[in-house]
Amino acid sequence: MISNLLAKSYARTVVAALVALVFAIVVTSIVLSVSGFNPPSTFQAMFSFGKQPDSVVNTVNRAAAYYLSALAVAIGFRMNLFNIGVDGQYRLAAMVAAAAGGAWALPAGLHQLVIILVAAVVGGAWAALAAILKVTRGVSEVISTIMLNFIGTGVIAFLLSPDRLAVKVAGSNNIGTKPIASSGRVPGISYPGSDLKIYGLVLLAVLAGLGFWFMVNRTRFGFDLRATGLSQSAAVASGVDTKRMVIIAMALSGAVAGLVGMPQLLGGSYSYSLDFPTGIGFTGIGIALLGRNNPVGIAFASLLWAFLDQSSQILEFNDIPKEIVAITQAAVLLSVVVVYEIVNRVGRRMDQRRVAAQLGEVAA
């Protein structure tokens, strides 16, 4: 039974993730107990809060952004490129797209499309800078994308001023880009029992996931991408132009990163202001790792992450620091790598035992 289960590699991934999750819950429980809280009732509280309709909507919305971010990271990972710059890419992309969307009046349909395209282009271009530095100057993309994050923050701060792209947000000290007119907004999806809406562009994340899977597994480009990641020397000998691949893959990664802010921008905030969410790019790295760069794996990982984030908000009402959830998340991440390796080995050993058994039967 178990040996059959572990025969498939995706099953191994799932088992590993579940074991890692259990491990993380145990670690979290220990931390909670040591700090004088009752683990079962804490989890109970998180769970019942997390399944309320409002929480579900928030979880899904948050997960969509995480998903796109992790997907962007995964494109790079598939060819051993570390795009640590998703954070800067999506923020810059969202800001420029928001400004463009606020400034231009276009018919509905086209308006949304243009905003999304601008975001993808800006994100892709920003990431491509790192790729160009890598292929022409040999600069590690790890370093350059981190630097570009800082530069991106600076550029946003510079542009987001009332003298340039920003306006004052009515009734607050906040400033942001001019709100996008209703022709450029994407209607939300209602969820029973909640007044909140699921962002319409959650579907964009789903499409991006399907596109990623298709590209990696079914297209020539995807083959080249994987080949380069698996063995650069063999890829070169097979005729892959690895420099070109670095630039395309990085630009693609950045373009997907550019989409991270779109569900919220076109579905909820309509303007890029100082309180637009930050840090999603870094979360995406962990989620890509947990989901093993696989679009389905990443989907589950994003939902888990978003659920933990959302349900942790109840903790403060019970005087429990909500950072406790960060411990859970960190424990999942650290353990999943180790657990995966163990599960994989056990799986292989079972494989061999099964072969032995079959051969034995034949011989007998």
Partner: protein, 506 residues
């Protein structure tokens, strides 16, 4: 060969992998202070057995005794602690590190990582005439030199029992002789050597004892003084020794590859290929003889577009190649059998059918438009597995799980598909057993008959002489001579290669 206590005794070793039994009830006794050869066809289970003895893989059943004591080996470090060292069939060196760094990696405790280590390496290198330069980057070394680094690495760790998995596959005869002299030296000092080879003549020359493995189990022990190569081959595969030989000439006067005055420089500005000119015609096999590291690899990479040429002309059937990408050149009809199959020929973690696509990812039957045609690629992989006798449980297994010779057969099948006009074959039969060797030669001959032009590079001089229509000798990046394959002997060719009789012979 005073046989005292056995150095190694293996009893009832069995090892299974998904879909195959690699070893089955193997018994071998290796006397101390001897050279013990293990022979068997591709996939017979030789490498697996050696990995078990080296602690890299755990046997499912059976016992290992080293110097009379039962050894439970969980990892190579357990094996090293018992004085066992192994040089693998495929190199395990880190390219971007120096020789010194590679050697001390993981053995820092022995002589540190600085001057002490360097001195010790130099000592060992001098003692056995390995000619290893500690400061060189491994990336810059040819296969022959890499091999010597691997051997040195093992000696550095104080091995008393050396396992060499196909150590001679990459060496030219002179180097083989040197290696064998080294082995004699090692033997005199009481070391034990277990070595695997498909070159049966060599086996007969150096081995004190021979064990034959067939389909995972020991089928015979042979005394090298009493058997012939032919008998050995029959024990291994039940077939006769193949002879590489071209029946009648199929050479035409239609040039396929034209190389004119091509020069390639390395990073330091040294001309590694120096003004090379040659022409290969339809139906012609042009062999290049040379000691490893004399520019063969660079010439090949320049033709493939993996290295830039500094000056000169490269043309395929009249069309300029310089400035075109590797992919474009492949699409124009160049097949490529690389000298290092793990580095340039395979995606080890990918399935066989994905490896079929590699290098041909823009051409049918692997693609339809911009999409990978899985069904087409799989079907064609089945064909290759069938035609080239690749021994595998299926086309979905990872390339890494094939034996070395079977990996090679897969690559040859792949590169011969799609009707190439030119085949660049670097050591095409390296690591394949005698049976598969003759099959590969047959495939080459047939394709040559149909007009294929072949650039053949090989360390196996019998193959080079037997298969080539034209023979050129390369030395320090220059073509220094020409030989007539119909009349030249391996010995004479060998001395041309070392520059002994500079100029033209025959």
């Amino acid at each position: 060969m005073s046989t005292t206590e056995p150095a190694v005794e293996l009893h009832g070793i069995t090892k299974r992998f998904p879909g195959v039994v690699a070893n089955h009830d193997i018994d071998i006794t290796v006397a101390a202070g001897t050279v013990h050869a293990i022979v068997g066809e591709n996939g017979a289970g030789k490498s697996t057995l050696m990995k078990i003895l080296y602690g890299m893989q755990r046997p499912d059943e059976g016992t290992i005794e080293v110097n009379g004591a039962v050894a439970d080996l969980h990892s190579p470090s357990d094996a090293i602690a018992r004085g066992i060292g192994m040089v693998h069939q495929h190199f395990m060196l880190a390219d971007n590190l120096t020789v010194l760094e590679n050697v001390v990696l993981g053995a820092e405790k022995l002589h540190g990582i600085g001057a002490g280590a360097r001195r010790r390496i130099q000592e060992i290198s001098d003692q056995y005439g390995l000619g290893v330069e500690p400061g060189r980057l491994v990336e810059e070394l040819g296969v022959g030199a890499r091999q010597r680094v691997e051997i040195l690495k093992v000696l550095y760790r104080g091995a008393k029992i050396l396992i060499l998995d196909e150590p001679t596959a990459v060496l030219v005869p002179q180097e083989v002789d040197e290696l064998f002299a080294n082995l004699e030296e090692l033997k005199r000092e009481g070391l034990t050597v277990i070595f695997i080879s498909h070159k049966l003549d060599e086996v007969l020359k150096v081995a004190d004892a021979i064990t034959v493995i067939r389909r995972g189990t020991t089928v015979a022990s042979a005394d090298p003084r009493e058997v012939s190569a032919r008998q050995l081959a029959e024990l291994m595969v039940g077939s006769e020794l193949p002879v590489p030989e071209l029946r009648e000439s199929t050479v035409t006067d239609v040039p396929v590859l034209t190389v004119e005055d091509v020069t390639v420089r390395d990073a330091t500005g040294r001309a590694v290929v120096d003004g090379v000119s040659l022409t290969i015609h339809e139906g012609e096999i042009l062999g290049i003889a040379g000691v490893e590291g004399n520019g063969q690899a660079e010439l090949v990479e320049a033709i493939m577009g993996m290295l830039p040429v500094e000056s000169g002309v490269l043309r395929l059937r009249g069309q300029d190649l310089v400035g075109r990408s590797t992919r474009h050149r492949r699409e124009m009809g160049i097949g490529f059998i690389p000298e290092d199959r793990h580095r340039h020929g395979l995606l080890l973690e990918s399935s066989l059918w994905e490896n079929r696509v590699l290098g041909h990812q823009t051409r049918p039957p692997n693609v339809k438009g911009i999409l990978i045609d899985r069904a087409g690629a799989r079907r064609d992989t089945e064909r290759i597995v069938e035609d080239y006798d690749v021994r595998t449980p299926g086309i979905d297994v990872a390339a890494a799980s094939l034996s070395g010779g079977n990996q090679q057969k897969l690559i040859i099948g792949r590169e011969m598909s799609g009707e190439p006009k030119l085949l660049i074959a670097s050591h095409p039969t390296r690591g394949v057993d005698v049976g598969a060797q003759s099959a590969i030669w047959d495939h080459l001959r047939r394709a040559r008959g149909e007009g294929l032009a072949v650039l053949l590079i090989s360390a196996d001089l019998d193959e080079l002489i037997g298969m080539s229509d034209t023979l050129r000798v390369i030395l320090r990046g220059r073509l220094v001579g020409e030989a007539d394959p119909a009349t030249i002997t391996p010995d004479a060719l060998g001395s041309l290669m070392t520059g002994a009789g500079e100029g033209s012979a025959a």
